[in-house]
Symmetry: C2
């Protein structure tokens, strides 16, 4: 049966732009970029072809083995728009723990990263704020109170 979380897949339109964004957040690319063209991928994913580019990203201090599988599809190409709102059905938000949310937000705002609220919001024992990646995917930062 299931042993552990292994990865979460983020499908992007432009891998370079997405890597730049996640590196700004403090994640690191942990594998060389691979371009795969595999019939096994097509069969497993029920797509006509299995041609994609992929890198793995993880927080530099993380020890869990969990990573982001950042994929840009080539054939078929990455398609569609990410969920428009946080009440949308689906995997609609990925959350990271930060040690100093005010300092992190200030630093990211200086780099031009925008957030959904003016400042972190407090509820349920956390302070939290949400941003969006280059494809509009919701990324949450949170600090325990």
């Amino acid at each position: 049966m299931i042993e552990s979380f292994q990865h979460v897949c983020i499908t992007c339109r432009d891998m370079e732009k997405s890597i730049q964004f996640y590196e700004q957040l403090g994640l690191m690319v942990t594998t060389p970029m691979l371009e795969l063209d595999e019939e096994g991928i097509a069969r497993a994913f029920q797509l006509p072809k299995g041609h994609l580019k992929v890198v793995h990203l993880a927080p530099s201090e993380a020890t869990s083995g969990m990573f982001i599988d950042l994929v840009q599809w080539i054939d078929p190409p990455s398609a569609g728009e990410s969920y428009p709102a946080l009440d949308h059905v689906g995997i609609n938000r990925l959350a990271f723990r930060v040690s100093d949310i005010d300092g992190t937000v200030a630093l990211l705002q200086e780099q031009g990263i925008a957030f959904l609220s003016e400042a972190p919001q407090s509820f349920g024992g956390i302070r939290t704020i949400v941003t969006t990646d280059p494809d509009g995917i919701f990324i949450q930062l949170l600090e325990w109170l």
Copy 2:
């Protein structure tokens, strides 16, 4: 800056159905179900209200601290359809490591769970298969070769 993955949010239409599915996969509910109605959630998530039900789920043997934040929105209600295909832009797939993928798939098929391919597919050093949760969200199982 970012220290670690904290959670991935899955927004569902019917919490009981989703909990049943993830428990079939071998995950456990790790917190009591909470119903929250918080202005801070509404502000952080840029929604008119912040009224939702939430539980946390994790593999029973996992030690990473990572969890699924399983949310059913009440006001505004959970809305829309999950991504229809695995080349769709967005967080479109959550992957779990399993120790015996053939045995796991056989057991889940006996329980009526369907998969996108007839059998696990091999590529890039893994054997993998994809299923969908009650809202059509893509869940991947994989075993290292």
